[in-house]
């Protein structure tokens, strides 16, 4: 009986299915607010679309505290603090990732580089540029190597030069990476392993990497043997860099390097070595030091994709007046720049401004000097354009080991100046030479870096 009952239930179930016959389909569509696309830009709203299009934002600012091992990220649209991150080590320096998405915290003495994701970045999705706006976050990704010193960004690539350490017998090395290596936490980076330590520098250039070579002390033309005296051209293929060429002109006591679209410049004891790519080969020439340098040498060079000339800086150790020169690779020429310094002014920071038409000099007296590029009969010169007084404080009260700091936006004509005395950051419009805003801090800033979405492919070549 029960068997029969069970069977009936089963039959009933199947029967009812047959009766229902065919199934059902129901679709509900609710139209949402449209996304407005104006010339490929998404104006106004700052909410984060998962699916698309660009965000208009002044960017974000990474600020390293001079007082505690902390870094803060500010939103430059409303000057609000987004988040503060505790750092593992003290005495860091700050730079950005090559795509300006990440703040790179470089700790030379603890052999470590860590990254903070600004949360603001762009991806090229082919049919549109896709911007992302998220909360800042400390990345799990860290780079480790002995004495990371010169961190160079160029055209989407970062080259980290690890000096190595003679005391521990650690050799120098180079690692090359991109923003996507940081986001995907690439474990194996391509680079160079040297067999000796040196205070060197590497310049990433697409598939090439120009990096310094230290010879045996007996062969080296450097006075300080830890400084290299040759430049090697490395080529990337099959997953690794291979030394393809050594430039035939030596560069004794090499220190400082910069590059622009065509040339790479290296500071040497006796002048500036300029390398130029012809097909797959690099040719080198040297611009000799001029007598106006008063026996100093060019130890720091700045370059910009938008500028044909480089700016070299010669200064004695421990400050003093700096001599700025224009380096014109086309004409193989070095020429001093009169930047009309104020009394006792000693530069603390330099930068090319957005677009490469202006060069900024921040000095210890609290002035931001703006130079402009001018052409006279086809001859390129840098001239004094104006000066902005960025401090109302008594600059003699500057605490030890602190200074004014400078960073430049990559999407507009703004520079930001950190002031450890007033504990604020000023927003300066370069073209108008006016202070347009400030961010109040409750700590003294040690270093600041602009982060965000670069506009029109303008990229800046940092050096120090």
């Amino acid at each position: 009986m029960t068997n029969l009952f069970k069977l009936n239930v089963l039959a009933g179930l199947i029967g009812s299915l047959i009766l229902t016959g065919c199934g059902d389909a129901e679709t509900t569509i609710v139209e949402q607010d449209p996304i407005v696309v104006d010339d490929g830009h998404d104006h106004g709203d700052d909410h984060d679309h998962d699916d698309g299009y660009t965000i208009e934002s002044l960017g974000r600012l990474a600020v390293l505290s001079a007082e505690t091992a902390e870094a803060a990220i500010f939103d430059l649209d409303d000057n609000e603090l987004l988040d503060t991150f505790s750092l593992t080590y003290d005495s860091n320096s700050l730079t950005t990732s090559p795509g300006f998405r990440y703040a790179a915290i470089v700790n030379r003495s603890d052999d470590n580089i860590s990254f903070i994701d600004s949360g603001l970045w762009r991806e090229d999705h082919g049919e549109h540029l896709h911007d992302y706006e998220q909360s800042p976050a400390l990345s799990d990704y860290t780079l480790m190597g002995s004495r990371p010193t010169h961190v160079i960004n160029h055209d989407g690539q970062m080259a980290v030069f690890y000096d190595g350490d003679a005391n521990t017998g650690t050799s120098a090395s180079v690692q090359v990476l991109t923003d996507s290596d940081i986001s995907s936490e690439t474990s194996e980076l391509a680079g160079i392993e040297y067999s000796v330590n040196m205070h060197g520098v590497a310049k990433p250039r697409g598939e090439h990497l120009l990096s310094t070579l230290r010879r045996d002390d007996a062969d080296s033309t450097s006075n300080a043997k830890v400084l290299p005296d040759q430049v090697g051209v490395y080529h990337f293929h099959d997953g690794e860099y291979e030394l393809e060429q050594t430039l035939d002109i030596t560069c004794p006591d090499l220190h400082g390097a910069a590059q622009n679209h065509e040339f790479v410049a290296f500071g040497c004891g006796d002048g500036v070595l300029i390398a130029h790519q012809h097909n797959d080969e690099y040719e080198a020439e040297k611009v000799a030091n001029i007598s106006e340098l008063n026996g100093l040498r060019i130890g720091t060079i700045y370059g910009h994709e938008g500028s044909e000339s480089f700016i070299g800086i010669a200064s004695g150790h421990g400050g003093g007046q700096a001599i700025l020169v224009t380096l014109n690779p086309e004409e193989n020429e070095m020429e001093t720049i009169d930047w009309q310094p104020m009394a006792d002014a000693s530069p603390v920071s330099y930068a090319f401004a957005f677009g490469g038409e202006h060069f900024l000099i921040l000095d210890n007296q609290g002035y931001l000097t703006v130079l402009s590029q001018h052409s006279h009969d086809g001859h390129m010169e840098w001239e004094f354009e104006g000066r902005i007084d960025i401090s109302e404080e008594d600059v003699s009260t500057m605490p030890d080991n602190m200074s004014f700091t400078l960073t430049v936006a990559q999407n507009d004509h703004f520079a930001y100046v950190g002031d450890p005395i007033a504990k604020h950051i000023l927003q300066v419009h370069i073209e108008d030479m006016e202070i347009e805003g400030d961010i109040e801090l409750n700590f003294a800033p040690a270093n600041i870096s602009w982060l965000g979405i670069v506009e029109e492919g303008e990229e800046h070549d940092h050096d120090h």
């Binding site: 068997n3 089963l10 299915l17 509900t28 104006d38 999705h125 082919g126 991109t178 697409g206």
Partner: protein, 807 residues
């Protein structure tokens, strides 16, 4: 340990204690009266299995009294199903097996009995040596010698099976009965996340199988089965090493099972690497040169996978879990775009050597966890409970210039519970409950489908009954509830235009502001499947099968919601939610006016078989009318692929970056065709098989559908003795001239493959050495069903050497 014994106590307490334990003994012989060694005896409804010893004898202990069904199987013989009544210890049973030249392997874990010879629906199971001989790097290619199954050959790097002319969202790919949960149903360049080299068998269900697998199986099912959750702890295993010449392939794989009385452990792994493969002619169809040095660029592949599993075994069942990690990196041929002459150094990248040219490659990763269990009951109603559940985390990135272009993700959860009852008035079968949820998202340039979340609940009933000794009736029904939610369906203003009038171009240039309309879409479908089949053994050794089914399918997210460039298919795809509206001179894409409805397949299958003797054969004929069939039509418009990677605007041909616009719409479609297999065991060593298959797909109102496989026939000759096994395969693919307006005809070709293997028994370890040759005539073979037909023919002549061991 404590936890597990607690489970054991719990499970044990649920089971009624056996009242009387009985023992049966017997012998298995063949039709000549000779003993059959190694025949497997299974007692249906229990976990009891045993094999015959060297005298052909078997003993089954611990049986309870009552009616039982024994399944006796052995390689080379037809299956024998015998019902016996166990009242007291029985010792002199004799079972006679009849030879079958067609290999018969059961489909595992089905509520009703299914095999190539015995079910109403057509089934093929690839297992053992045959599977090993035919396995390839991709699933479609592994199955392409299976009758009724073609591959959509995608240049050795990806391929998906085409069953009776249907593929994509209509063919379900499953792993141990659970959805493989990748994105291979969405694009032909997306690899299937399942591996043949570690599988124990691959089951193919031809024709509608929605009854067992749900909506996605309206065209058929491919189920890749392995022993990742072990059901016994007998120590056994398999390893192999292989190389192949045309693509310089190297493959290493193993699987092993072992354990104690109560615990079983399983591990498998494989590693494979291959380079760009050689072809006998220039790969592009419009070049005519023949020569030695042609390769299909960017067809290299590298993959590896590792699975571990463990089970707790108890008297009446098992419960186990497995974890798999699957990685695959492969080139995507034909997936290049933009201006290749970009000479500045902006786009160079460092992480991969791939960056030296514009090649695109895919990097696929999947983690799969499966939980499986089975409990047999002696109670009044419930005979067995089967549990299968899985969690899958899938991701693949398409990497262009070393940067991630598009990322596809699929996170899914699935649970299947089969409740099988004891025979009720002769009815056997049960109830199946099924839940599946998958979240699919794509980000990047090729994210042509918006993120979506789909959820399925299903209830199915499957029953079979022997009406008399010669008549088997199988019936089934299934109701599903499928919800598909997408809250950001985008409708951009498409700057599409036709190539013969360009005034629309100008109109669009006037727009300064475009609006992208955004929709929150919520679909709810209730597909119902009804199926019935009859198998009639009208005379001993012969049967006729007939199967009728009405299956409904919920359309997929891709078919409904797409809007964007799909480089894998070379088209700009627009889902059926949208339609092209014509207003005066202006053509505009907006929401469709049509209701979104289910696709319904009405299928009749006829099977005629000779199951035993020196000659055996199987003929299948089918007629399948699919109403409301979702397919793409060419709108004649072109849209920007938006895939220009050069960052300066070199003046290249303005049309290079445009893709034809295809829109999904529905129509009624008729598929009909046949499959035939005849096998003749000429002597104990020599066997000859011939087969053929054909499908004709057309719109009811006239017109063809694209990429339909052509008529195929072929033969296999084999010689097998104690030590040597040799096979010669000759397969003829006819030309295909039933094509759509945007396709070209494809020439026919004949493939010749041969293999020889030699067994060297060493201690208790069987080792075989083998040599395989494929495409021995080095012929140009272009696959009509491939999206890459014109740029990637099949590999040229190739030799493969390998060694395989079993323990």
């Amino acid at each position: 340990m404590f936890k597990i014994s607690k489970v054991a106590v719990l499970v044990g307490s649920l089971l009624p204690a056996s009242l009387f334990a009985q023992t049966i003994e017997g012998t298995v012989i063949n039709s000549k009266g000779e003993k059959v060694v190694g025949a497997k005896i299974e007692v249906e409804g229990t976990a009891i299995t045993t094999t015959t010893d060297k005298n052909g004898r078997f003993v089954v202990t611990d049986l309870t009294s009552g009616k039982r069904e024994l399944h006796i199987t052995a390689a080379g013989f037809a299956h024998l199903i015998k019902g016996i009544t166990i009242s007291e210890n029985t010792s002199n049973l004799t079972f006679t097996l009849n030879r079958s030249p067609i290999e018969v392997v059961d489909v595992v874990a089905s509520p009703v009995h299914m095999s190539v010879m015995e079910s109403a629906t057509p089934v093929t199971v690839l297992a053992g040596e045959t599977l090993r001989r035919q396995q390839a790097s991709t699933l479609g290619d592994s199955l392409e010698k299976t009758v009724g199954v073609h591959t959509n050959f995608h240049a050795n790097v990806a391929s998906t099976p085409i069953i009776r002319g249907l593929s994509g969202p209509r063919v379900m790919i499953s792993q141990n009965g659970l959805d493989v949960s990748d994105v291979s149903r969405v694009g032909p360049d997306h690899a299937v996340a399942a591996e043949a080299s570690t599988a124990t068998q691959i089951e193919v269900l031809r024709g509608p199988a929605t009854l067992f697998y749900g909506s996605g199986a309206v065209g058929g099912v491919v189920n890749v089965v392995d022993g990742r959750v072990p059901t016994d702890s007998t120590t056994r295993g398999e390893w192999s090493l292989e190389t192949n010449s045309a693509d310089n392939k190297k493959l290493a794989s193993f699987n092993a099972t072992t354990g104690t009385d109560s615990f079983a452990f399983y591990a498998d792994g494989y590693w494979r690497e291959s380079s760009d493969y050689e072809v006998p002619v220039a790969p592009e169809a419009d070049h005519d040169e023949h020569g030695d040095n042609f390769k299909v660029e960017n067809s290299a592949e590298e993959s590896d996978g590792f699975t571990i599993g463990a089970s707790y075994l108890f008297n009446d069942g098992y419960l186990g879990i497995s974890v798999e990690k699957f990685n695959r990196e492969y080139g995507i041929p034909g997936h290049s775009h933009g201006d290749e002459g970009d000479t500045d150094d902006h786009d160079h990248d460092l992480e991969e050597s791939h960056s030296e040219n514009e090649d695109v490659f895919a990097d696929l990763e999947q983690t799969r966890v499966q939980l499986q269990g089975e409990i047999n009951f002696d109670g009044q109603w419930l005979r067995q409970v089967n549990l299968r559940s899985g969690f899958t985390d899938y991701q693949h990135s398409e990497i262009e210039h070393g940067e991630v272009g598009t990322v596809f993700e699929n996170d899914s959860h699935e649970v299947k519970v089969d409740l099988l009852h004891h025979p009720l008035s002769g009815w056997k079968g049960g109830l199946s409950l099924h839940y599946k949820n998958s979240e699919v998202a794509a980000q990047g340039a090729e994210a042509f489908t918006p993120p979506s979340d789909s959820e399925t609940f299903a209830l199915a009933v499957m029953e079979e009954r022997h009406l008399n000794d010669d008549l088997l009736l199988q019936v089934g029904a299934r109701v599903e509830q499928v919800t598909l939610k997408a809250n950001e369906v985008l409708l951009p203003e498409l700057a599409a235009h036709s190539h013969d009038d360009d005034h629309e171009h100008d109109e669009h240039d006037e727009h300064d502001t475009d609006h992208i309309r955004v929709f929150d879409v919520d679909h709810e479908f209730t597909p119902v499947t009804l199926s019935t089949g009859l198998v009639w053994n009208f005379t001993p050794g012969y049967n006729i099968g007939i199967s009728l089914s009405r299956s409904e399918r919920a359309p997929s997210a891709t078919e409904l919601l797409s809007f964007g460039p799909h480089i894998g298919t070379g088209s700009y795809e627009i889902g059926a939610l949208f339609a092209l509206h014509q207003e005066n001179d202006h053509r505009d894409i907006g929401l469709t006016d049509e209701a979104i409805d289910l696709e319904t397949a009405n299928n009749i299958d006829l099977t005629f078989r000779k199951t035993q003797g020196e000659v055996a054969y199987i003929f299948n004929a089918f007629y399948n009318k699919i109403d409301n069939y979702y397919y793409q039509i060419n709108t004649g418009l072109f849209a920007e692929s938006g895939h220009d990677h050069s960052d300066d605007s070199h003046d290249h041909d303005e049309h290079t970056d445009e893709l034809p616009v295809y829109i999904f719409q529905t129509d009624d479609v008729i598929l009909k065709g046949f499959e035939a297999q005849i096998a003749w065991q000429a002597t104990d060593e020599i066997k000859a098989t011939v087969f053929s298959d054909y499908v004709r797909v057309k719109l009811q109102d006239g017109g063809d559908l694209p990429r339909t496989p052509p008529l195929r026939f072929g033969t296999n000759l084999s010689y097998i003795n104690e030590n040597i096994s040799a096979h010669l395969d000759i397969t003829r693919y006819q030309s295909q001239d039933k094509i759509t307006a945007f396709e070209t005809e494809t020439d026919g070709y004949t493939l010749v493959d041969a293999s020889v293997s030699y067994d060297l028994p060493m201690l208790n370890h069987d080792i075989s050495l083998y040599v395989k040759g494929s495409n021995l005539t080095d012929t140009e073979a272009r696959v009509h069903s491939s999206f890459l037909k014109d740029i990637a023919p099949r590999p040229g002549r190739s030799f493969s050497v390998g060694i395989r061991g079993y323990f």
